[in-house]
Amino acid sequence: MTAAGATLGGTRRSAIREFGSSVVTIMVKELRSRMRGRRAFIVLTVYLAILALITYGVYVVVAPNAGGLAGGFGGFGGQANASALIGQSIFTLLSIFQLILVCFIAPAFTAGQISMEREKQTLDLLISTPMRPGAIVVGKLAAALAFVVLMIVAAIPITAIVLMYGGASVDDIVRQQLVLLATALGLGAIGLFYSALLKRTQAATVLTYITVLGMTLGTTMLFIFWTVVVNQDENGGFGVGPPERAPEQLMYINPMVGMLDVVANTEPGGFGGINQMLAQLRGDAPDFNGGVECQGDVCRPIDQFGNPVDAVIETGSGYWWPRVAITSAILAAILTLAATRLVVPPGMRWALRKPRRPRSLPGASAAGDPPLEGAPAIQELREEPEPER
């Protein structure tokens, strides 16, 4: 083999193609067994039925009072705002509920992917194929997420009902989808990582859920606790002066914050409970005891005594969700890489990365040459690109 640039580029391209076809191979196999029978159909149906029920429930609860609520809030009465309030309520609940479901479902689908192969003693057969461990791991993740993505995407028509009522726009739905997908990816990768790390699916599942709990409730509690602690003076009371906060990066790994940020954008006038909360997280609101005072359309931040503060509140969302989504994606990439290492049997973990030593037996043909009668057929196999199906 020559080391000419063209050949090198060709090898790289064929390596990528090989990687891709390995991923597809794993996905086809996983989906064949996963989507067969009624289980997938039933799971999807139940999921959509629950979402539809929530939508209907919100409508039933909100609609009779919508006129009054909308009128009282912004000073504008009438049908338009009432309708928007219904839409916004539905959107908020659907988004949060879907996120919670994804938090439960995505790890459940991935936490067994590798450990199950170990338990059923099929991993050795898989590893002894020439597929790269990375392709196996990515294929597993993609196959597990394919169904989660199907669930998320299948719910779009239900979410789209809010477009009829107003209160949330297509942009909001797109953002909601992005956060859901990023969350599924990140949490799915966590499950896959534990699955590769631990021998037992049960242990992997438990640890995955503990981690997910830590990322959602845990970060929130830690953030509050941290903030309280750093704001205490030596006498145990709350100090005066600008309050300090826990590092906001803590909340980047909390998918709930991302979703609340998306939902916050639909709050009338860009202000409401969620916006206030997020602003406080960000440190734009004066402190935890203050809030926002609105008179008509004009809103001002106030401190805990109700006095206006000069700090400027940036209204509208868009601060948290991109950060949360990107963090989730980065987390997924790191954990997938780690899982790739863990899938390789111990002792061989770094062997695949060793530089190839051009060693051969004395009198033996080089590795590239066909040394045996059986070999040419194999070479031919490798050269032929796999046609798309």
């Binding site: 590893i127 194929t129 060693r359 033996a364 043909s365 046609p387």
Partner: protein, 328 residues
């Protein structure tokens, strides 16, 4: 062809250590093209470890291992394309159909789509599972699963098959079927490295065996070679007619021969004859001579045979010797 001189498997001073434990202690092994080579040894002898190293699932602590001239630790992916590996314990994907199972592995090895269908048909033919093509793997019997797993090692037409205890847990009939398949594969030009702790199984089909114990290669070569190298003393089985006195006389007569070691107590067979066994140090000619003189001496011999030392016996002898050496 020049290339046929390359051994399919070659190890030099192969060592694998698990912590303090030495699983493989410097094994030199050469398997030529087209051989069925048996690795024989008790459980825990290091057979599986060796096979895993060759299958690139373990890395060796020291020494070298080559498959078709390619070092297994330096280029595992290339080695994997040339071997089909069947582990001693393995699972199958229950929820796939038989053809889907093979199709999956064919894809894993990058077999092009246009060849997969015909290839799967051929493989099912070889392992006798054609009728089960559409069945779920779940529904297969143990023997069928074993054959399916064997078929999966063949999807990419490898030069070398590494089969770790392919007949373990099978009933006698399934064992025979498995053996027939291996013979057929050998005719197709595959080199097969097969392990077993059930020795006679290998004796019938292997062109060579390596006896392994405690990670060391005790003997290797063809079964005949090993037998000869041990200068195996034949175990004679002599069936006699007559009463107790006649049998005692025959035993005493045998005892006077210098070439005969311990003469065992007679056992009454179902046909009324009494079988006595004695170890005899001598070639077949000497055995014939012994029979002639015995008959001439008036003993009523109705059966005279020597138990061919099978692999099991060889194995016990070899490992027994080692135990003695170790004790000495």
């Amino acid at each position: 062809m020049m290339s046929t001189s390359v051994p399919v498997v070659e190890t030099r001073g192969l060592v694998k250590r698990y912590g303090d434990q030495l699983a493989v202690a410097g094994v030199d092994l050469v398997v030529g093209p087209g051989e069925i080579y048996g690795l024989v040894g008790p459980n825990g002898a290091g057979k599986t470890t060796m096979m895993k190293i060759l299958a690139t699932l373990l890395s060796q602590t020291a020494g070298e291992a080559y498959v078709t001239g390619i070092p297994v630790d330096a280029d595992p992916l290339e080695v994997r394309r040339r071997i089909g590996y069947m582990p001693d314990f393995y699972g199958v994907y229950d929820d796939l159909r038989v053809w889907e199972y093979l199709d999956f592995f064919a894809r894993c090895y990058g077999v092009p789509a246009n060849r997969r269908t015909t290839m799967i048909g051929e493989l099912l033919e070889i392992v006798g599972l054609t009728e089960k093509r559409e069945s779920y793997v779940e529904a297969l019997s143990r023997g069928m699963r074993q054959r399916l797993c064997l078929a999966h090692t063949l999807v990419h037409d490898p030069a070398l098959l590494i089969l770790d205890e392919p007949a373990s847990g099978l009933d006698p009939r399934a064992r025979v079927e498995m053996r027939e398949i291996l013979r057929e594969l050998r005719l197709m030009g595959k080199t097969i490295l097969v392990s077993s702790h059930i020795l006679p199984e290998l004796g019938e089909m292997c062109t060579g065996v390596a006896i392994i114990d405690h990670g060391r290669l005790l003997r290797s070569g063809s079964i005949d070679d090993i037998e000869r190298s041990l200068r195996a003393t034949a175990l004679l089985r002599i069936d006699l007619l007559g009463d107790e006195a006649a049998v005692t006389a025959a035993r005493e007569w045998l005892g006077t021969d210098a070439r005969i070691a311990d003469v065992l107590e007679g056992v009454i067979k179902s046909d009324g004859a009494v079988r006595i066994e004695a170890s005899f140090d001598g070639a077949p000619e000497a055995q014939a001579e012994l029979l002639r003189t015995m008959v001439e001496a008036g003993h009523r011999v109705v059966g005279f045979s020597h138990a061919t030392s099978d692999l099991e016996e060889i194995f016990l002898k070899v490992t027994g010797q080692t135990a003695e050496e170790a004790a000495a």
